[in-house]
């Protein structure tokens, strides 16, 4: 497999694929953070999470077109506005979905799975009707174009660096929200013991709704980031949902650190293997390794040891 390449070429290949893996890692982390928060909080497996991401991507696409045609002088900053709007709109839709559908299905995981899958199909059709079946792409501002040449063969694109910085900022924000704020304490209390959380005065329904909205909002930002590395179509979210579930389960659903470590491992493995094998084989091998590890360690990579 490696014999066709010189050692210098192999170093360059691993460096380039490693960096491509880091961008994939960023999207995985953003997607998985939202999914893990929702799953950890409510035990809801949100099959429509990919479609929330794509909503964020379409909002970014709409703003890109709007600023390009109507406000070209502000085009260089549209991406920041797009991320904020993507968060607000997807979070609002998330809150609506929680209120209108998910809250009626708590403690019924299979029904929730089916209902959110149905929602994903509805959203896909809505996107198809509104934006058409063809994939669309955004125009990036000039400062996001170009790359930093490291060697003759290795270049680091600016947009990739931006996505990684964005991911870092969001991961740190989520950490502070969940572990350093009063609201985060309420979320963790509800996760551990819902009836008891209510009995200490926490409005668990309100916490559920806000958490679902935040999880979906982060998916919206993931969608904005996604537009920098791929084009957006009605079913694009489906490509990422399985991998994201893999990240959440492999990392341990209750662990933020586990989610990040798992996203890094899976994205790097896939990205590197994709170069030497096919994309499908890379996914199959990753899945096999993850399943093997989960058989030995079903709680995922990270789990707390405490007296309950």
């Amino acid at each position: 497999m490696f014999s066709d390449y010189t050692s210098a070429e192999l170093v360059s290949i691993f460096a380039m694929q490693g960096f491509a893996g880091l961008i994939l890692f960023s999207v995985f982390v953003l997607m998985a953070l939202g999914l893990a928060i929702i799953f950890g909080q409510m035990g809801v497996i949100n099959m429509a999470h990919g479609e929330f991401m794509i909503l964020g991507a379409y909002i970014t696409y709409l703003l890109s077109s709007f600023f390009e045609n109507n406000l070209p002088s502000l085009f260089s900053i549209y991406f920041f506005l797009a991320m904020i709007l993507a968060f607000i709109v997807t979070a609002a839709l998330g809150a609506l979905v929680e209120w209108g559908m998910v809250r009626h299905l708590y403690r019924r995981p299979l029904d929730t799975l089916l209902a959110t899958w149905g929602l994903s199909l509805i959203l896909q059709q809505v996107y198809r009707s509104v934006f058409g079946a063809r994939e669309v792409g955004v125009t990036l501002p000039d400062w996001m174009m170009g790359s930093i040449p490291l060697t003759d063969l290795v270049e680091i694109p600016f947009n990739g660096v931006f996505v990684m910085i964005l991911t870092f900022v969001i991961a740190v924000s989520v950490y502070f929200l969940m572990f350093k704020s009063r609201f985060g304490g309420q979320v963790r209390a509800v996760v551990q013991n819902r009836p008891m959380a209510g009995a200490v005065g926490i409005n668990t329904q309100k916490v559920d709704r806000i958490t679902f909205a935040i999880g979906c909002g982060i998916a919206g930002i993931a969608g904005s980031a996604f537009t920098m590395i791929g084009s957006t179509g009605p079913t694009s979210g489906q490509l990422y949902i399985v991998d994201t579930f893999l990240v959440v389960v492999f990392g341990g659903a209750a662990s933020l650190l586990g989610t990040i470590a798992s996203a890094f491992t899976i994205s790097q493995a896939q990205s590197t293997m994709e170069f030497f094998l096919s994309g499908s084989m890379a996914k199959v091998l990753t899945l096999l390794v993850v399943v093997g590890i989960l058989m030995i360690r079903p709680q995922g990579l990270f789990a707390l040891k405490i007296r309950r």
Binding site: R182, G185, Q186, R188, A189, Q192, N193, P195, M196, A197, G198, A199, V200, G201, I202, N203, T204, A254, L304, I306, R307, R308
Partner: protein, 229 residues
């Protein structure tokens, strides 16, 4: 302070608490005694809104809380220390107490709570799950007190606690009553503990109150007979 009237609780078709009537006065400690399976925990949980009751009423002062959710009852002034403590084991001691601040305006844990339980201040950064049983019981009481309740409900606070700590818990409850002006309703199986803390004792048998006595006139032998298997 707490008035329970014609109160019944059912699990599905099976009624567990039958038309119960009792009250708890301001600044009074009332213990309810009974063997396992007589309905003590169900009564406590339903008073807290964790088990639904369809018949009868629970009034906290002038407010009928019967149809309120748990968090709304906390806002009105009820607080609960459940059987088995049920502290949030992966959260620190400080974070556990802070969950009790949800319904009040305090941003920080009041100093009076750490004065009452100095060991919790020493261990405030430790995970709740890593405390001993007695320390967890103190934490569960501290968490309940953080919401500044008018009535504190405790479900078998001595369960799984070593005898030397049981005495400490009894003293703490009396101190809380005196310093915070609380009413306390405690379910128990240990008669000596109940006699130590309570002003009045109720005995529950198969979901009904079958005996009520004040501490001064209590007939220990008769009450003990209700507790023996």
């Amino acid at each position: 302070m707490l008035q329970v009237s014609d109160y019944s609780v059912s699990y599905g078709q099976s009624e567990v608490i039958h038309g119960m009537n009792f009250d708890i006065k301001e600044n009074e400690i009332v213990a309810i005694l009974g063997r396992n399976g007589m309905g003590k925990s169900t009564l406590m949980k339903s008073l807290m809104g964790m088990v639904e009751s369809r018949l009868g009423s629970v009034a906290l002062g002038p407010v009928d809380v019967s149809r309120m959710k748990s968090h709304e009852r906390v806002r009105e002034g009820l607080a609960f220390v459940p059987q088995g403590r049920m502290i949030f084991s992966t959260m620190t001691v400080k974070e556990n107490i802070e969950t009790g601040l949800t319904t009040v305006n305090d941003k920080k844990v009041p100093a009076s709570i750490y004065e009452l339980f100095p060991v919790l201040e020493e261990m405030k950064s430790r995970r709740g799950g890593n405390l001993s049983g007695g320390q967890q019981q103190q934490l569960a009481i501290a968490r309940a007190l953080a919401s500044k309740p008018k009535v504190l409900l405790l479900d078998e606070p001595t369960e799984g606690i070593q005898p030397s700590i049981i005495k400490e818990i009894a003293n703490t409850l009396k101190k809380i009553r005196d310093s915070h002006g609380l009413s306390i309703f405690v379910s128990e199986q240990v008669l000596s503990f109940a006699l130590d803390v309570a002003d009045r004792i109720l005995v529950i048998e198969k979901g009904e109150i079958v005996r009520e006595e004040t501490r001064d006139s209590v007939d220990e032998k008769t009450i003990a007979s209700y507790l023996s298997v």
